[in-house]
């Protein structure tokens, strides 16, 4: 449900990028998302057209980079993949780990139409 709020934040950010580059519109948007961000890519993809309606990114393609969950073990130093609800070290099994990847929610890149085009 909160994916609509996230989609609205995404639209605001992309709007700022369009302004910053004095572009006409955005044609593709890439978001890097990890399972631990608490945002479901499929739901964000559903919410995006609603949030983007009438904006300069209406019709832009929303693409996702799925960040894997990786943890760094503070005990043995290994960096391993982990499951969402088992963030323990894959090498030694200790739970004193830190997330290296998997909790991101980043606007990674935007493709812009450089020349002003009629808004569709």
């Amino acid at each position: 449900m909160h994916e609509l709020a996230v989609a609205q934040a995404l639209v605001e950010q992309v709007d700022a990028v369009i302004d910053q580059h004095q572009a006409g519109c955005a044609t593709a948007i890439r978001v890097r998302i990890g399972p631990l961000a608490g945002v479901v890519p499929e739901l964000l993809a559903t919410a995006f057209p609603l949030a983007a309606a009438g904006s300069r990114m209406e019709g832009a393609e929303l693409e996702f980079t799925h960040a894997p969950i990786r943890v760094h073990c503070q005990t043995c130093g290994a960096e391993t993949e982990a499951a969402m609800n088992r963030l323990i070290c894959g090498a030694c099994g200790d739970w004193h780990t830190q997330i290296v990847s998997g909790d991101e929610l980043l606007l990674e890149s935007v493709e812009l139409e450089t020349s002003p085009t009629p808004a569709s």
Binding site: A23, G38, V71, H96, Q98, L106
Partner: protein, 268 residues
């Protein structure tokens, strides 16, 4: 931090910024947190709290796990010691704020309508309806929900997540995003453990540790006044720690944000 010159590009993400695109189009790398605007507002809220030496605590849990009952008991216990204030978040009604006001404590109710979580802007608006001078601890009771509230920084210093023993001891495994964010996990309604043979506090703690979370786990029953001392002692320690931070111009973000930040190649 720089969005223009490309200095935020690393070997790991460079290919994303320079991928070939169609003629007449250009691809720009942004690499900003999607919730940056919320996070900026949260930082602003945190500045408000730090300037006044206030400790802000975000309470999260399922609906009905006893957040308001915990607050009632806590506010009663601390009434001669600290000045507290409460922000209540619910989809509808002023009921919870009224319960807090009945204890003689300042409370502001945020009615979210249909929104499933509080965000930093809602909390900021609420702060403008409150008197913060002289407040020692601000409790923010989030909307009862084990999913969405975990993703939004409000400007709090600490997250406290409640798990009542009438739920299941595997909730941390089922809702890892929420429980990973906890700076303390409170197992509530533990007076009912005597009649609930399927909830094992040790299992709940083991599930929390599987999320690499070192947060303290405290068992209590607010209604029956069991285990409240450990929680109140923890609160006193956290307020002292907040005052010590403020004295040296530092602040603290809840567990989820600080965790692993130094391993991120990108500053979101």
């Amino acid at each position: 931090m720089c969005d223009t010159c490309g200095c935020n590009l690393t070997p790991g993400n460079k290919h994303l910024a320079f991928k070939p695109v169609a003629k007449g189009a250009t691809a720009v790398s942004v690499l900003k947190g999607l919730l940056q605007k919320n996070d900026d507002q949260a930082g602003h809220n945190r500045d408000h709290f730090d300037k006044r030496g206030i400790l802000a605590i975000n309470l999260m849990s399922s609906p009905g796990s006893g957040k308001t009952a915990l607050l009632e008991a806590t506010l009663t216990a601390l009434k001669d010691e600290f000045t507290c204030a409460v922000i209540e978040g619910d989809l509808e009604t002023e009921n919870d704020a009224e319960r807090i006001r009945a204890k003689g404590v300042q409370a502001h109710q945020i009615v979210t309508g249909t929104a499933c979580h509080l965000d930093a802007h809602l909390v900021h608006d609420a702060l403008h309806h409150m008197t913060l001078d002289g407040v020692d601890i601000l409790f923010i009771e989030n909307v009862g929900n084990l999913v969405c509230p975990a993703s939004f920084d409000l400007g709090q210093h600490l997250n406290v997540t409640l798990l009542s023993v009438t739920e299941g001891d595997d909730k941390p495994a089922k809702y890892p995003v929420m429980f990973r964010a906890a700076d303390a996990m409170l197992l509530t309604k533990t007076d009912l453990l005597a009649v609930l043979d399927d909830f094992d506090p040790d299992k709940a703690e083991a599930h929390l540790r599987n999320l690499a979370n070192p947060a303290p786990v405290m068992c209590l029953s607010a209604r029956k006044d069991m285990g409240m001392d450990a929680w109140l002692t923890w609160l006193r320690e956290q307020l002292a720690a907040q005052r010590a931070r403020v004295a040296i111009g530092q602040s603290r973000r809840p567990a989820i944000q600080s965790d692993g930040m130094k391993y991120h190649s990108v500053t979101a």
